[in-house]
Symmetry: C3
Amino acid sequence: MSGINDAAGAVQYVGELAGVFAFAASGALAAVRRNLDITGILLLAVATALGGGVIRDLIIGNTPPAAFIHMEYLGTAVAAGVLVSVWQMPARLSRWPLDITDAVGLGLFAVTGTLVAHQSGLNAPGSALLGMTTAIGGGVIRDVLTRQVPSVLRPGEYLYAIPALLCAIVATMLVRYVDYQPWMGLACAAIATVIRLASLRFGWHGPEPWYRSRTTAEPVDQ
Amino acid sequence: MSGINDAAGAVQYVGELAGVFAFAASGALAAVRRNLDITGILLLAVATALGGGVIRDLIIGNTPPAAFIHMEYLGTAVAAGVLVSVWQMPARLSRWPLDITDAVGLGLFAVTGTLVAHQSGLNAPGSALLGMTTAIGGGVIRDVLTRQVPSVLRPGEYLYAIPALLCAIVATMLVRYVDYQPWMGLACAAIATVIRLASLRFGWHGPEPWYRSRTTAEPVDQ
Amino acid sequence: MSGINDAAGAVQYVGELAGVFAFAASGALAAVRRNLDITGILLLAVATALGGGVIRDLIIGNTPPAAFIHMEYLGTAVAAGVLVSVWQMPARLSRWPLDITDAVGLGLFAVTGTLVAHQSGLNAPGSALLGMTTAIGGGVIRDVLTRQVPSVLRPGEYLYAIPALLCAIVATMLVRYVDYQPWMGLACAAIATVIRLASLRFGWHGPEPWYRSRTTAEPVDQ
């Protein structure tokens, strides 16, 4: 089993950096869409990629946050921003790779956020809440800075918070009630990734309120 | 006196949960008005209800924040979000109860924020500033996430920050200069609640700048 | 040398308060432009002036943040807000003094943020990152609260993050690799101030992405 776990640990580390890269790319692409210059692209890439982890570390009192200490996260985020600045990916190429890496990042951030929260002594619901917050926090920062309703809140955006929360809940239960092994975390993250991608592929949406008064509703555009 | 204080302590605990409930309901209703789905309603309810307290705890270094440890706050916020998701309150019913519970929450959060700040060693102006921040923080988060100028800043929104600040200042002076008793905190909170409700009832607004140049002004709509 | 350094220390303290004043004035003027009342003006002045330092202190775990302990910062910010509330500066007077004090604040906040980060044990890139964050944080809060894309991100806003980052990088190297003296910090801050002002005077902008697809771009207006 330890062979699998060593491999799983390495995969998780690489996957985390892939998640940082994907989140940074999503921030950079949002900046490009808004016509920002390279400074704006890099700042938004870094804020999107590192924001969720910084919020997580501040909440558990782990200061300074890992993003200010381990420079490979900052370096990866900057690299993604630079790449987006110099290479205009054809739309047909950028869509699926980005969706996939973003979904991978979502799952891995939810798991690592949950584990870090558990290690710092949070109880089960608190750990799951913080895991979800870690996974969705960067995207919320990106959308607030570009003056949008965060996509995690918008109804037309398919499932995003739900797979992150599911994954965080499962990870919390594993780490509390069974002999947690790294490969379990990877499996958790994979579940979130698959649900997210399936919701994109098959058009799954979250539940609507039981009623829906169209008369008082303002459309959420842009 | 201890009988009154025991009762006051119990009232404050119940009142705090009522404040969480009211703030959560205001977040959920803002989400409904924006046509968000149930995920969005619940996320906005939780962020609005727990945001002010999380900011308070981060600023005084009380990590992890109480909202991640004492699950009755999260549970109350989720319950308010679920209620708004399943039951479309008639407008004539929802207006006054919400305004009242929100005003109750405003006062109680201002008092508890101030007391927590004082206990952590902040000086008087710092405690009052943090008390006000606790009371208005959740609403600011709600409005930023739904892409509005925070209502606490908008001129057409009656008095909101002013009663919170008044209440926090009085609470600071009580806890520093007299033999503070819980019923005094309740009285403070009641003053803020009454001022807030009176400003709604009688149309009180905050002071305008001495001049007002209409030519350069952009209207703050929506 | 110590005579120069004593003078430099005093200048830095005065300059820091000047930076707080300038940032507060920019927040208050943004509030006036949005037609907010005096409550809104004061809240936005305080949030803009103290926001960057609070973020810095939370990230290095220095709680409660200095802005909640040393009341001269709060007092200076409130004074700037009150001044803007009572005196409508003629546009021809307000433009250059504000740009200059804001640029002075940018440089001094970048240096002090970097030094505080270094003293708390951050490595060189982390210190520079936090120095830049301190310098630009308040303005981002101001713009998010008034529902704008932060000016630090907008392409038409001349250089802002770049001089702050340059200054933070130079300050980091000085404090690590040479016998740091306060006058060096002042020189660093002056460089950032001069670059910022020169970019305003000569219309310097940050680099654009290598390509720029006008077809998919949405204009960033307002």
